[in-house]
């Protein structure tokens, strides 16, 4: 459908080889964050606050310290003070003081589950027993959970004064972002049709199956090692060093396999605390979370209140959009509002726009990135409103979207023009897909929604080395969460024109490779892939150069063809040396052949997706079943097609869970009532149909193989796609998530 000007044929790109780390993972050999043990290791335990908001008056650790087998106790007072931390601000927008106070509360606890103290002992049972012996005296403070309640004049202040607040009086507003252009009010009053609505949801959790865990060993000479799983071991190094005010190079972080992250493992919770306990005890210390800890104290995605107004001419041309939203920031300042603003309405050409969002501090765990952070919430509101607009206009909802779809060169909400985006191609592919015209059964309805995510590039380092037998090792600094070792090997093998199995890929520790940002922002295949290609090209050049010197011919007479250095002119024309031959004699031609690429990747492009969802609604119970689902996405170009499809399918499943079941439920005392998988109901296999994926390929011209980010986009459209399908099946517009059976039942039978 999007015929490229020149057809490129690839040896490996787009194929589906077995991942190099696969056998370890299907046999149980792979070591995850929770699996690592160090010799002589102590077991840690954390005491957490039972109150959502309280001042810590005193902490008495004496009883715990006296217990035989207890080797160290730590509280917030053991972390360096604020003044010393300001000197060592870490990477990223999180304030290092907030990160420190989130690891161990300093003077106040800000949510139920906030860590207050920690112990290390010779057994896990003893550590838990000792933690329970720590006596904390609290002055309980009034708490606030709701967005509007937290914005009320008499609301308890989470911080005094709120940082970055726009008002002059202290408030719980932690961030306020507004973008837009034109005259929104005038355009809305002149519009033929205006739809408006308020959309709401509570926070949801990333739901990775592996709880957080780490082992830290900090020696008296200041040097330390940390073994943990995370989305970025360089992030663990810089944040831990900043919280502890120590040099980064004194910490070596060894990445263990990661059991899912989805944005939630882009910060530290345990590592600085384990470090303190290790320093005090002189032993390696393991800290881990229970599932309840994960729910109560790690970053959920924010819940939201979103107000939308959309105006269109009678022919369906959008003339104005206003989106105003509030997100839960939780106990500390979070970042989702920025992405929420830039992800709300940029997929349409609209002359008059105003998008404005705030982060609201409240007594909940600090919100953390969750797959396209900030985008699914606003997209739910905007794409539901688009559905309503189509109904009011009497227009086909897909045609309405095609009529208004942004194209390359159109302006984003930020005012920057869109680059080579494939949004229109996705809409065309969806229209042509058999799902779009398939018949529906009784009590069924079809919904559609489209959305996008900006993606990212940034710093990555790759080292590609050649062994004496001509085989290759790619070492990256990017944790492999969903098959990235395989994609790196594919790209390197493509450049080197050798079999896939001749290239192996590993994730190196922070002392063995240069800085690389987190595996997040859908950046790894793009940015680390770019570094891999660059390093492979340099290795290829070096191998050709060695061959040229061996043959005593000018370097320009040697080319790399089909995995061999080939002499292309002169007396030696036709001479060939394989990688093994060049590498085998490399010690006599200038030394080992290796290349490092360290870059900050630019030119990333957003990904667009368009989803078609069929639901069946049980009129008696209000239960919604997903009966068919198709996700179309512009992926740039798929490097490993299976893992691209897998990212899309996984994102859809999370989006369906968000739409239908998942939600944080707090009681009036500010305590989480569903901190377990039984009550926090994520989709299981029997809830899901197969998820049909359509990979549209509009290559990114900046990336050597056309890569755009893939992983985050697919969680954006499902919320509205499901809601629009429920509307089509029942005639009821569901504006509050999740669309759980009780809510759907109430909507159907007028109890709501």
């Amino acid at each position: 459908m999007n015929a490229p000007e020149k057809i490129e044929t690839f040896r490996h790109i787009g194929t589906r080889p077995v991942r190099p780390d696969g056998v370890d993972k299907v046999t149980g050999k792979a070591l995850y964050g929770t699996d690592f043990k160090a010799p002589g290791m102590l077991w840690g335990a954390i005491l957490r606050s039972p109150h959502p908001h309280a001042r810590i008056l005193s902490i008495d650790t004496r009883a715990a310290e006296k217990l035989a087998g207890v080797k160290a106790v730590a509280t917030g007072k053991d972390l360096p003070t604020l003044e010393s931390l300001v000197m060592h601000v870490g990477e990223g927008a999180s304030d290092i003081v907030d990160i420190s106070h989130n690891c161990l509360a300093f003077d106040k606890v800000l949510y139920e589950g906030h860590p207050v103290a920690a112990v290390a002992a010779i057994t896990p049972e003893l550590a838990r027993e000792a933690a329970a012996l720590i006596s904390v005296e609290y002055e309980v403070l009034p708490h606030v959970l709701g967005l509007e309640e937290a914005l009320a004049d008499d609301a308890p202040l989470i911080r005094e004064p709120a940082k970055g607040g726009t008002g002059e009086t202290p408030s719980n507003v932690a961030m306020d972002v507004t973008m837009g252009r034109g005259e929104v009010e005038a355009a809305l009053s002149g519009a033929a049709v205006v739809v408006e609505g308020r959309y709401t949801m509570e926070p949801v959790h990333q739901g990775y199956i592996e709880p957080h865990a780490c082992v830290a060993s900090w020696n008296g000479d200041g040097q330390a090692q940390i073994w943990c799983s995370s989305q970025g071991h360089f992030m663990v190094r810089s944040l831990t060093a900043s919280v502890l005010a120590i040099p980064q190079s004194d910490i070596r972080v060894t990445p263990l396999e990661i059991g899912g992250g989805f944005g939630g493992k882009t910060t530290v919770y345990l590592e600085p605390v384990a470090m303190i306990l290790s320093r005090k005890s002189g032993r390696p210390v393991r800290l881990g979370m229970s599932r309840e800890d994960v729910f109560r104290a790690t970053g959920p995605a924010p819940g939201a209140i979103i107000d939308v107004r959309l105006g269109a001419d009678a022919d369906g041309t959008l003339v104005a959009a206003e989106v105003t939203f509030k997100y839960h920031s939780g106990a500390f300042a979070a970042n989702d509002a920025g992405a929420g603003v830039s992800s709300a309405i940029g997929h349409y050409r609209i002359a008059n726009t105003r998008v404005s969002g705030i982060e609201v501090l409240c007594n909940r765990p600090a919100a953390k990135a969750y797959r396209a952070p900030g985008a699914p919430q606003v997209n739910f509101a905007v794409e539901s409103a688009m559905d309503e607009l189509a109904i009011r206009l009497g227009m086909d909802p897909l045609e309405l979207r095609m009529k208004n779809a942004a194209r390359p060169g159109d302006l984003q909400t930020s005012g920057l023009p869109w680059g080579e985006i494939g949004w229109m191609q996705c809409l065309e592919a969806a229209k042509a897909h058999p799902h779009w015209s398939a018949p529906l059964g009784p009590n069924q309805g079809r919904g559609i929604a489209g959305g996008y995510w900006g993606n990212y590039g940034g710093p990555s380092t790759v080292n590609l080395s050649v062994a004496e037998d001509g085989t290759f090792t790619v070492a990256t600094g990017s944790p492999d969460i969903g098959g990235s070792r395989a994609s790196m090997a594919i790209m390197a093998a493509e450049v080197l024109e050798v079999p896939y199995e001749q290239v192996r890929c590993v994730v190196a520790d922070t002392s063995s490779i240069g800085l690389s940002f987190v595996t997040g922002g859908s950046r790894t295949t793009f940015a680390t892939g770019m570094a891999t290609v660059e390093a492979a090209r340099e290795v290829k050049r070096l191998l050709c150069e060695r061959a040229a010197r061996t043959w005593q011919v000018p370097a320009q007479h040697v080319e790399w063809r089909d995995g061999h250095a080939v002499c292309t002119s002169g007396e030696r024309q036709g001479s060939k040396m394989s990688a093994a031959q060049v590498a085998g004699s490399s010690l006599h031609s200038g030394g080992p052949v290796t290349a490092t690429s360290a870059l900050s990747a630019q030119g990333w492009l957003p990904g667009f997706g368009f989803h078609i969802c069929d639901v069946e609604v049980d009129q008696e119970t209000g239960h919604v079943s997903i009966v068919r689902y198709t996700a179309v996405q512009d992926v740039g170009r798929a490097i490993h097609a299976d893992y691209v499809e897998g990212q899309i399918q996984g994102g859809v499943a999370q989006g369906i869970g968000w739409a239908l079941n998942e939600t944080y439920i707090y009681n009036k005392d500010g305590k989480l009532e569903n901190p377990g998988f039984l009550d926090y109901r994520m989709p299981v296999a029997s809830d899901m149909p197969m998820i049909d994926t359509v990979m549209v390929e509009v290559p990114n011209p900046v990336h050597p193989y056309g890569v755009k980010g893939v992983g985050e986009v697919p969680i954006v459209p499902p919320l509205a796609a499901v809601a629009n399908a429920v509307r089509a099946a029942t005639g009821k517009r569901m504006r509050s998530l999740p669309m759980s059976p009780d809510k759907v039942h109430a909507a159907l039978h007028g109890e709501g």
Binding site: M179, A369, G415
Partner: protein, 84 residues
């Protein structure tokens, strides 16, 4: 140095937070120098720039701040958006 001063477009929240203006006109050889000059007009801006700011040069995001700005017309200062 560019022939005419650069047009600097300051997006929210930085317009209100640091500069009290949405547009500025400045000379700078590269983006590092631009940030220094912006810091002089909005004290504290340089300190938050690395963590919170993206710069777009003639409509395209630029993360290499050593990039020369000769022949550049416009730089947009916009909030950096986090990924997951």
């Amino acid at each position: 140095m560019s022939a005419s001063p650069l047009r600097i477009v300051i997006m929210p929240p930085f317009d209100k937070e640091f500069f009290g203006a949405e547009r500025l006109s400045l000379d700078a050889g590269n983006l590092f120098e631009l940030i220094e000059k912006l810091d002089a007009q909005g004290p504290g801006f340089a300190k938050i720039a690395r963590a919170r700011v993206h710069l777009a040069v003639d409509g395209v995001l630029e993360t290499d701040w050593t990039r020369p700005l000769a022949d550049v017309r416009e730089v947009i200062v916009l909030p950096r958006v986090g990924g997951g």
